[in-house]
Subunit: 671 residues, 2 copies
Amino acid sequence: MASQSKAQETPGRRGLEERKQLIMEIYNSLRSADIASIEFEGPEIAVYIRNPKFIVENENVVKDLARKLRKRIVVRTHPKSRKSMEYTIKFIRENVPPDVGIVDIQFDDVLGEVRVIAEKPGKLMGRGKVFRNLVLAETGWRLEVYRKPLLQSGLLDSVLRHLQRHAEERRRALRDIGERIFRDTLIGTRHVRVVGLGSFGEVGRSAILVDTGESKVLLDAGLSPSGYGPDSYPYYWSPEFRVDELDAVVISHAHLDHVGTLPLLFKYGFRGPVYATPPTRDIMIIVLRDLINLMRKAQGEPPFEPRDVEKALTRLIPVNYNTVTDVAPDIKMTFINAGHILGSSMVHLHIGQGLYNILYTADFKFYRIKNDRSTRLLPPAEYSFQRVEALIMEATYGSKETQPRAEAEEELINLVNKVYKRGGKLLIPVMAVGRGQEILVVLNEALRSGKIPEIPIYVDGMVYEVTAVYTNYPELLVKPIRDRILKQGENPFEGPTTVYVTDHYKRDEAMYSDKPAIILSTSGMMNGGPIVEYFKYLADDPRNALAFVSYQAPGTLGRRLQSGEREIELEMDGGIRRIKVNMEIVSIEGFTGHSTRGELLSFLRRLNPKPRNIVLNHGEPSAIAALAHTVKTGWSKLGFESPPIIEAPENLEGVRLYPRNLKMKLALQHS
Amino acid sequence: MASQSKAQETPGRRGLEERKQLIMEIYNSLRSADIASIEFEGPEIAVYIRNPKFIVENENVVKDLARKLRKRIVVRTHPKSRKSMEYTIKFIRENVPPDVGIVDIQFDDVLGEVRVIAEKPGKLMGRGKVFRNLVLAETGWRLEVYRKPLLQSGLLDSVLRHLQRHAEERRRALRDIGERIFRDTLIGTRHVRVVGLGSFGEVGRSAILVDTGESKVLLDAGLSPSGYGPDSYPYYWSPEFRVDELDAVVISHAHLDHVGTLPLLFKYGFRGPVYATPPTRDIMIIVLRDLINLMRKAQGEPPFEPRDVEKALTRLIPVNYNTVTDVAPDIKMTFINAGHILGSSMVHLHIGQGLYNILYTADFKFYRIKNDRSTRLLPPAEYSFQRVEALIMEATYGSKETQPRAEAEEELINLVNKVYKRGGKLLIPVMAVGRGQEILVVLNEALRSGKIPEIPIYVDGMVYEVTAVYTNYPELLVKPIRDRILKQGENPFEGPTTVYVTDHYKRDEAMYSDKPAIILSTSGMMNGGPIVEYFKYLADDPRNALAFVSYQAPGTLGRRLQSGEREIELEMDGGIRRIKVNMEIVSIEGFTGHSTRGELLSFLRRLNPKPRNIVLNHGEPSAIAALAHTVKTGWSKLGFESPPIIEAPENLEGVRLYPRNLKMKLALQHS
């Protein structure tokens, strides 16, 4: 009797044969480059050549080949074909116009890159390509030019230097990763399944396991804002999750609830690649280092150490927006702008060579540029794709509409003026990443245009370091902000009254001076950080005010205050003190970096093509249920041609997306 | 900051401490029995004593202790305190009344049992207890008396003898299993999750993984009737499933779609316990051996071998109905009569020392005894329990009502008469287990009462062997049948015209004789077995008839014929032949061993207490969707006080049952 063929064909199967053919094609096409070796380095195929002039003269040959093979191909000179660093530095200095203002020249042995940090890289931009080719042909090094940061982050610099010191380890890691990505497949794509390890039916500890039978990818590795202990980790002990079987970790953005347990994976033996955009990588370094400090203060021994963060960095593969990247034999991944914070991404997974496509929005901000009259930092999330069969969407604000952003700005400005007039201090808890920068831009803009008086703005916590990263990526910010950085050389995050709190004196000044002031400080949900110290001291005085400008998760001090608690017990002066809260407490929701309910629906309306499956996560149960209801009943108004299947698993629940019995699921949904 | 305590308490946690206390209590209570050792043997605590008289005199002490400790305690004599086998045989023969008719005396070294097989065990029953105590006190062996089977199964006997030969291996296995069950817990019960590995959204390859964080139990290990290849196995390659992490396999009943891949688990390294009722064990041996033969015929190399079946048997722990048994540190399991086939069980899991209770119906037959006027073999499924929070229920006949059983019997009898009159043969595909015996009883009853003429009834395939097992367990059959066996010593499965096809001559006679006949043969869905040979020969003649008396799964020859295909290509005489089907084809659904739609709803109505979660499986998508709809809208009519959460996962999907966000799930269900 013939066995029935079911849904277990292996269309995603590919093997050594394909790999051999790839290598043959590359050899044939780039023969005259004098190929020294071809290596699978992470998701890229690196072709090491002995004749650097070839790249200069045949740039399009490589591009065409990459397009044809659908692979990321990079051509590098063989280390032995590169000139010495001394020679290269001398050559660059001698040939760069003096007004470019070279600040530093760094080398990346792994990538064969020489990085020039300059005051005015624009001066080089016009003739950039010619000069880049000149450097390459002459020295064998590939030139990259970077702008000198407007702000300097010591922490970031030190970690990047650490990485350079460990070039050889990184190279080895990249090759291991490459071998795994381009491996001979064992099973092929059998199915597409998504298991919620965290952030399902809740906000926080985002972690989603995508399992195709052949490979496994973890989307995000977050930490719940409710604490630092194991209860705040995703369900990593779930039996389907094993670090040794994981092909890749993809980080959507650098908020702790999406990246806070990444080092833990390395502590427990993960040695695979981590994919993130370059700004996400940079911010991640800062917030994870800070997290270790916060944990030390809160509970003594943190569950991981700085070296685990460094291990993660050694295996981090930066990927720019809209660059298709192989992350497993049967999964291609693309980051797409999510508009949430700098570097934040939606993640598109193309599975099984055309079988199935998932779009994971992670945290995203969708707004209509036309209607917007507010001070924005980031462009809105993208909504048009080649293929999307399943959408995994956040539902943080799924149940209630929030005020428009322009109104929120007005409300904040009015609050500043009110508190100023009564001689009080305005305390604003902000996440180090995103809201801090947004509020700084709003306040400095209001100062410039005279909408608020000359009031000192103290910025405490990790906001400074992260702002430094923001100024490093002007090309990712909206045009008005970008232009101020690139054309006017201004820092939009700094005004005449901005004070970065870098020592105890400045903190004392912010806290104890009798003058009105605005204090921005971390953490954003008041579950630690200097904000708590400010709060202890300022809570008592009714002239002061506390303004929440972001989502407050259940279990955090922020949420308790927001929900009306006015007596709080906190550690103070070595004991537990009951603090009476007399300060004004205000919630301004319109600043959210998340899509509001209207924006979520508007995103679904614009989204193209329409998915057949919608999985809702990253929301409190009521928010998820409300959004699900609206989509279930209103799909036709949202432009769907047929009702999508809407599901909202809990953590530990798994949803199979492909192959799927659509009919049964629909019948169940509508019965 | 204090970490928030979430749903991850460990109420099911227990440890070595508890184990020590258990042992202390036993020592203290049974001191005067002269304890040699206390062993954890599978789910039982075995107390080896040197003074067998103690048990005779203190039977209640042991019972009370077991009740108090909530453990299965068995007291055995220490091997050195047992008399020789020769002496024991002599002692028994000398002291048993001669009319008992001893047929055989067997010893089980592992259990310290002496088994007397007798023609008339009833003669001993009255004074059974006294005699048992006499034997125990005198020889140290525990006496068990069995009835000589009405039919002899050579296969079953040979395998049971094999087990006796491997007593030492079994003893070691039992101790390993015991150590694992009574281990120091690592994590405790963190959650209750159910993952569908097979039979979700389909009929066949039943396999359900129950995962509590601390332990993992597999409910059933079936094979899809659609074939014998890997596509017919459950999703054992799913990453959350690993044989080395499995605490136990629980087999609900001995149909291949529930037990057909059990040997495969052993082939791939499983060495834990398999729990089944004694009749399920016996039938399992027969059907799995037969399966290997069928696979050999169908595809050459079977995926497992007889020794894998034997490994499973070595680790099989028989458990009677209604006996609570520890199967993992945090799971107690109870088998409850399911009324489907002999030995068939619903499985009740009591998890985390009171945290949560699951009832898995598996395949079950629920009917109201009062209204029933048909010839039944088995009592209906139970419906009353101490606690049930989640129900996993089959939905095979969820969408359409089937005819009442009494009508089905009438229809079959009419069909026999019709075919007899036109001189044809009536071919009935039956599963070796269940339907075969049911139909035999109906036909022989009709013969006895003259409702059908004296027509030969040929019984081919494994039906004979399985019927032998049925006659071994009269106490599990309904009273009228039981009485005929026990009181009248009759075989209700055999009539004056019954012919067991045991060789080619008889098969030729059944097939080629020109006289009317009834032929019952396996397999029940015509996906192999002698039925296909009969069909090839008989299909052509319009005087013949083919009567389906059970569910036919998609992809089987049975289903194709049932759906109207009348030209079938089959291997015949060494080539592929196109067979024209001219015989009459009839489907009589009322014989089903599954609950009909009405019976499913009636079961839910009677079920006490009412579960909060209902998970539907073992049904085609349309059947599941229809049943879900009825329960979703009609819960109040079914006696639920609040709407239950109804879910129907697909294979590879996981549902978390505890802890659970009931509100969100309900809101989603009813949005």
